[in-house]
Subunit: 196 residues, 2 copies
């Protein structure tokens, strides 16, 4: 059975996106170290601390499928047709965007909701990880009880405004104590949801 | 010169208070371990993990004064006249509450704003710590550049609603990577603000 993990870089005041340039501060840790981490896209390589690189290599090797929101897909311009993590992406959307097929092997559009998207992603991922990388999809997954783990890359900055990673959750949800790894410009916190 | 530190227990979705019973989940780590930590109030003793106890003992010994908001004072019923950390509290308020004197030696009411309260607290604290334990006062201090450090006791729970620790900050504020200590039911994260 696949493990479903939501993971994003978050400011200490809880934001994963910012209306102007602030968001770049959340991703400094991808580029502030000596260790090169290639992605599935040949011309795109990260350059980070050894601690962060170890985690990212493991995560990249472990990901069997991703679930994304439509806005993330749009913002990333469809990742040029292939996600940097090298796994198929299930994009939750109301309509298939112009110029794309519903069942491209790398990017699959799911028009019947987040539960369906997670189910399809788990079927593809097998024993590997289903990665959720969108605040809105994470919220829907948490409220529907679909997540096994939440990984926060906590960045030492206050952004003051933007989109929150964890907003409008329905009621109280408990997690186990995290595995903590100190990077440079980031603290990696990996939580398992209680009872998962 | 005193070090001004804001410190609160915060849920992973950023809340330090909750409209109903959820707030109790933020303070479980004070009472879930084997190590007794006496407070300045004889009938009130914490019982926590060794890791958390070590931090709390150091913090308690190091605090020379506190700065609080009026709501925190009201919620705590004036701490029975003496704060558990055993240091004088400067309460930022518009008016001195009924039944209290402005210059009680343990609880001092400051009616001319947060900068004045921090200044008075630093004068009393000498080389020790001025502790800020209120979300609203922390926000005012961050926006006025009055804080040296922010300590977050990050609790593995989503509360879904409540009062946020870090809300409505004015613009981007950078911090150093934190000192991280794993407790039980809490991860202690101690950040220094950049340039302080």
């Amino acid at each position: 059975m696949a493990t479903v993990i939501a993971n994003m870089s978050m400011s200490l005041d809880g934001f994963v996106a910012h209306p102007s340039s602030g968001v770049e501060r959340l991703f400094g840790w991808y580029f502030n170290g000596d260790v090169a981490v290639p992605t599935a896209v040949p011309q795109f390589t990260f350059q980070m601390s050894e601690a962060s690189a170890g985690l990212l290599r493991d995560a990249t090797a472990g990901v069997g499928a991703l679930v994304s929101g439509r806005r993330t897909f749009d913002d990333a311009k469809g990742w040029g047709g292939k996600h940097p993590m090298g796994a198929p992406v299930f994009v939750v959307t109301h309509t298939v965007p112009d110029g794309w097929q519903q069942d491209d092997p790398n990017i699959i559009f799911v028009t019947d909701g987040v539960e369906s998207a997670v189910e399809k992603a788990k079927a593809v991922a097998g024993e590997k990880i289903v990665a959720v990388a969108s605040a809105d999809i994470t919220r829907q997954c948490l409220n529907a009880g679909l997540l096994d783990e939440v990984h926060v890359d906590l960045v030492p900055v206050f952004l003051g405004e933007g989109t929150r990673f964890f907003d409008n959750l329905d009621g109280i949800i408990e997690l186990e104590d995290p595995l903590t790894v100190a990077g440079t410009g980031v603290t990696h916190l990996r939580y398992r949801l209680k009872g998962r």
